[in-house]
């Protein structure tokens, strides 16, 4: 069995999601190659080559691949298909975008958001916003899957570098073109892999209040910021902070939900956190059914008080 793992990166750094998906790929058994498809992405390929258990890195470098557009990226992967039995990608927005395209071109049903590899052909995955866990078996000659990164630890680096080989990049026939990107820049930890996440909901009431109340708490804890969809829709927080069924799935050591009711769609994104704290003025709020520690009261008083307490105690 040989597995092709699709690297998640921005052409300069390898995203940790790749090392996590590598842990899932390793559980399939067999040899693992990583495909780095991008533009001037040599440094990414070098980082991938040092991950434990990687036999070889394939580097597809072209203008068409600069922004991970799904049409050329899927064609690049499918052109390599003959040599592989499994195709694995982290369930990032890029992985979710391209892998079903690959699966359809190979006439294979994709297994989405794998949380456990039971056997090389058998996987567990959440359905219904995580309210049920399905075990599925694929009889297909090739496996195509995306991996829920919060369910797998990152594979270690420090491997004596494996060889990097150039491969052909597809053009995508000009079906689509990149226009622009507006990416959040922040010095805070990455939401998907942070050890502590503090999230705000609709109760914050405005973008100004969201910043004024939530940012100091995040700073005091060195935490990543998250938000409910309601807070995103109201414009209090950017879309890439959304935690939930249709947003990011996080599993930090500590998750602090402030003014979030705990809709099933939100819980789907954070209920695997080790410790959950909820701050809400409604003691009946469903978030308290999953919280380890419940603080009932007005967040506009409690959150700043918590921030002060944390600073005081260091």
């Amino acid at each position: 069995m040989t597995t092709l793992l699709i690297a998640e990166h921005d052409n300069s750094t390898l995203n940790e999601a790749t090392a996590r998906a590598l842990s899932a790929a390793t559980a399939l058994g067999g040899e693992i190659h990583i495909l780095v498809a991008g533009k001037d992405a040599r440094a990414v390929a070098e980082a991938a080559a040092s991950l434990a258990g990687v036999a070889k890195v394939l580097l597809a470098d072209s203008d068409a691949l600069a922004h991970a557009l799904p049409e050329p990226l899927a064609d690049t992967i499918v052109a390599l298909a003959a040599g592989y039995d499994a195709f694995v990608a982290p369930a990032t927005s890029t992985g979710k975008n391209v892998m079903p395209r690959v699966a359809a071109l190979l006439d294979v049903m994709q297994v989405s958001e794998v949380i456990e590899v039971v056997a090389p052909d058998t996987f567990r995955r959440p359905v219904y916003a995580g309210n049920a866990i399905q075990t599925v078996r694929s009889a297909a000659a090739k496996i195509v899957m995306t991996v829920r990164t919060s369910s797998f630890p990152p594979a270690p680096g420090g491997n004596g570098p494996s060889p990097i080989e150039a491969v052909e990049a597809a053009t995508g026939s000009g079906l689509s073109a990149f226009v622009e990107e507006k990416l959040s820049t922040s010095d805070r930890p990455d939401l998907a892999s942070a050890r502590i996440v503090v999230s705000g909901g609709r109760a914050l009431g405005s973008a100004e209040k969201f910043s004024e109340i939530m940012l100091p708490l995040a700073d005091a804890l060195g935490a990543a910021l998250g938000a409910s969809r309601a807070a995103v829709d109201a414009g209090y927080a950017p879309n890439d902070w959304q935690v939930g069924q249709t947003g990011k799935i996080v599993a930090p050591d500590l998750y602090i939900a402030c003014g979030i009711s705990g809709a099933i769609q939100h819980l789907a994104g954070m209920k695997e956190a080790k410790t959950i704290v909820a701050i809400n003025k409604d003691e009946e709020a469903p978030i308290f059914q999953v919280a380890d520690y419940a603080l009932v009261g007005d967040l506009f008083a409690l959150v700043p008080a918590l921030t002060e307490e944390l600073k005081k105690r260091g």
């Binding site: 922004h67 799904p70 049409e71 927005s93 979710k96 975008n97 079903p100 395209r101 699966a103 359809a104 071109l105 049903m109 994709q110 989405s112 958001e113 959440p126 359905v127 219904y128 916003a129 309210n131 049920a132 866990i133 399905q134 075990t135 599925v136 078996r137 009889a139 297909a140 000009g174 079906l175 689509s176 990149f178 226009v179 622009e180 990107e181 959040s184 804890l221 995103v232 829709d233 950017p238 879309n239 890439d240 249709t246 500590l254 209920k271 080790k274 410790t275 704290v277 003691e283 308290f288 059914q289 919280a291 380890d292 520690y293 419940a294 603080l295 009932v296 409690l302 918590l306 002060e308």
Partner: protein, 249 residues
Amino acid sequence: MKILVPVKRVIDYNVKVRVKADGSGVETANVKMSMNPFDEIAVEEAVRLKEAGTATEIVAVSIGPAQAQDTIRTALAMGADRGILVQADGPVEPLAVAKILKAIVEAEKPDLVFLGKQAIDDDANQTGQMLAALLGWPQGTFAAKLELADGSATVTREVDGGLQTVKLRLPAIVTTELGLNQPRYASLPSIMKAKKKPLETKNAADLGVDVTPRLEIIETREPSRRTAGVRVGSVGELVDKLKSEAGVL
């Protein structure tokens, strides 16, 4: 311009889903069913384009049991012009759905297909991308904004790091994100009118598609449940507990 909007009948998003004790699936008897929320957004986007004079016809298509007619009628009440039901009684996987939709696209020749980015039952997030691949069309997934001009669609997508904008050559596939629009509720008169709109029924075999599942579902189980913890009286007590008891600070 013609727009095709596939719509799926799913357990309503407000229902607390129950897993059957024997591991065979989830309880669907006497459970409220609705249109997948992302598909409502897809229908809404198409209707707005028709109201703006950009789209001329909207065809809603559903693949599912006879009751999926209700889902199509909802789309018709929101403003779609006609419906196609491809009747299938068992579960139909995204790959088979994409193949059925490909056959419909080849017959209907739409300029755009709008789909929800994922269905909230299987949470697969595959069908739109698969359909794009099978047709050899470009795709704009997770769309938060859409603009049409001169034979192309400019789609702003919600991605992990923020927003990405791409330009697609038509015909194209667009899958919808929650932020794209706020779908309307159909008014009573439009619900009445929808009853008279044409709805044709086909089946997968007529379209030459084999819907036999490729993945075998071995079992469906409850996830491990969390239990409610303790109420703390002050922020001081919370910090104490996070340090000493939980050990996360």
